[in-house]
Symmetry: C2
């Protein structure tokens, strides 16, 4: 297939682009390279040294004999170039990673909230409007988040996008209907993925665009078979308070002997997926695109759930480091239960990698290799969901 | 109360601002004046001659002895001036009309779709982010639309924002929960109001902003007690295919002897409200703001429902003109039933004006007074929801 990977320079986009290319697809990466600029803004860099786009392209050509093109384009701003790119490349599939993806970054300040809404919504909407304008039959595969379901304890295993509900009609008879699972996003970032769902619902219904929305759990791990083929292909490994997802943050903390920073009680249960499974899910979604028809296909891209405190204890035991409870910067329930269905991706052939001590130790080894690159000052999350949360943190530190 | 009226130069905003001022409130209008620029873009103007903002302010001062200030500001672009305005005026309430409000305009072209999403979403989000930044306790009253519920026949009287549903938990026991009514917007414009609902839900929950979202039916009529006090205060009366709402379009068509343009079978049932009731609802929502706490308050701002074909026949009989069926430019059900609850505004004291022949005749008289200003070429809707709809219209005209 001919595939555009929007956001293909990022943490999930890059290994996905390589995996799709290695699987025989014709891949073009489209990226504004904004994530590299955000590194500069925050004054922190990926634990792993990331090479320039040109070096990455050269390295992939050298190891694979194949070429991946990269087009620098801001999805949220450059509508006409986007439409022109669609016309000239005529992709079968567009994989859309091109959104600001960090909850803490989205809550740092009014400007960060506004950037996240503006960038993510206009980007997704531009893609949909451009597909309609060009009249192409494109399958859109979008990276969403399990966070659209919210992190409150609910009495159901989270279904894949839709919930069958009943309610009495005006005569008191019960009626049944499938609805988009009622969304309860916990940050502006998660909010944008909830908004995306409504954009997709509308464009699928009005214009017949085929769309798969992947509600992804928290990704852990860094390297994949493809990114490991050359040092210049290495993937990001973010550990800072804004972009470091919880388990990867623990792994880097373990590698440098920093206490593992658990927010609140650590009683939050979250869905997880290894980066190698994540990119396989993307490929499975892409290759099954012809099955999507009418309704947006939503699949839960996660393989297991864990309590944050349990993960911290597991990593601490492996690495012999401490666990430190810090005041939770987020406004969320202290504790929650969570279980979710992932039958659709299992049905497409996903064979999950299970989180275990051996894999975690391997990740800690990767982190140790680059330990001298860690800036410990950037480990704590200093983005607070509300002023109350900021004040609570200051009180906690006193 | 001290009130900012965002979009206070427009069709609903202007009479609302005057009504709030006449009711003793301290009103400042905030508007980008973009609606006047769209008149120029489309080459069509309000049937009624609209005076400049300065003339309007002067006239209001002359007839009332009171002053309304107007601040020119683009809500979607001018974030810092907005935050500064909030800090200096410290409003009790912000009434938010500042969104692109026409479904056909939102579907004219990719650029119009993109403008509508960009303007409406960033505008609403800027307001919410600025309220959080300033820390003010502001009640937001937002003009939404009944269209978020969708126009399919459903077996319930549309509730006010929330639907109580039940579903089996993981043990098969039935659970019950109030959810935002599942949204089914029928155009990009309606979509933006659905997106707004999620913004409001998040900011009410995370930041405790008090928000009332008014799901308004189709407004008909033009003048109010306040706009009738001086010719310079006259309100808009849009009749063109983009901004003319259905009943007002029929009234102008009747006044100039144009066949009434019914889309498809006219079997669409819609909710309606007279402009005089609309502005009273705004005042009732504003003055009851202290009742809003925690959850977003959603009220259905409509007073009756009618089939479009029935309204066309009623107006045709009054004016002695013909009804012409035109190919429906919208992608929607040919026929639908619709009933909705409006208990909340009735409970606050709304005493509905009922649509009747006398009131319709009075509106036709207003329209006749300005009949020479009508450009008949702009009456048909030439904005098509899809290429299929455009082709169907061309086939119909052949």
């Amino acid at each position: 297939m001919r595939i555009l990977v929007l956001g293909g320079d990022g943490f999930c986009g890059w290994p996905s682009a390589l995996h799709l290319a290695a699987s025989g697809h014709d891949v073009t990466i489209v990226d504004s390279l904004v994530r590299r600029k955000i590194d500069d803004e925050l004054g922190v860099h990926s634990l792993t040294p990331i090479h320039s786009p040109a070096e990455r392209m050269t390295a992939w050509h050298e190891v694979s004999g194949e070429r991946i093109e990269i087009v620098e384009l801001d999805l949220a701003r450059d509508y006409d170039p986007l439409a022109e790119l669609l016309r000239t490349t005529r992709p079968d599939t567009v994989v859309h990673f091109a959104e600001q993806r960090a909850a803490p970054y989205s809550m740092k300040s009014p400007a960060h909230k506004r950037y996240t809404v503006d960038n993510n919504l206009n980007g997704t909407h531009n893609l949909l409007a451009a597909i309609v304008e060009t009249g192409l039959d494109v399958h859109v595969v979008h990276l969403g988040t399990m966070g659209v379901y919210g992190y409150e304890t609910v009495p159901v295993d989270l279904p894949e996008g839709y919930l069958t509900v009943s309610y009495p009609d005006r005569n008191g008879e019960m009626r049944s209907r499938d609805i988009l699972y009622p969304t309860q996003p916990g940050s502006v970032y998660h909010l944008t993925k909830s908004l995306d769902q409504l954009l997709f619902q509308f464009y699928a219904r009005n214009d017949g665009i085929r769309i798969t929305d992947l509600h992804q759990g928290i990704v852990w791990g860094t390297q994949t078979d493809e990114t490991a083929r050359d040092p210049r292909l290495i993937n990001r490994f973010d550990y800072d308070g804004d972009f470091g997802t919880v388990l990867n943050r623990f792994l880097v903390e373990a590698a440098v002997g920093h206490p593992l920073t658990v927010h609140g009680t650590g009683g939050q249960t979250r869905a997880f997926i290894n980066i190698r499974d994540s990119i396989r899910c993307i490929r499975l979604a892409v290759e099954s695109g012809s099955e999507v028809n009418g309704q947006v296909r939503v699949m839960n891209q996660m393989t297991e759930t864990h309590r944050v405190a349990d993960l911290a204890e597991l990593v601490a035991a492996l690495a012999g480091c401490e666990v430190a409870t810090v005041s939770n910067p987020r406004k969320e329930a202290d504790e929650n239960q969570l279980a979710a269905r992932n039958d659709l991706l299992l049905g497409l052939g996903l064979d999950p990698i299970r989180l275990d001590s051996e894999l975690l130790s391997a990740e800690i080894e990767i982190a140790r290799k680059y330990a001298e690159r860690v800036d410990r000052n950037h480990i704590p999350c200093t983005s607070y969901w509300t002023e109350d949360r900021r004040n609570a943190a200051q009180e906690h530190d006193r």
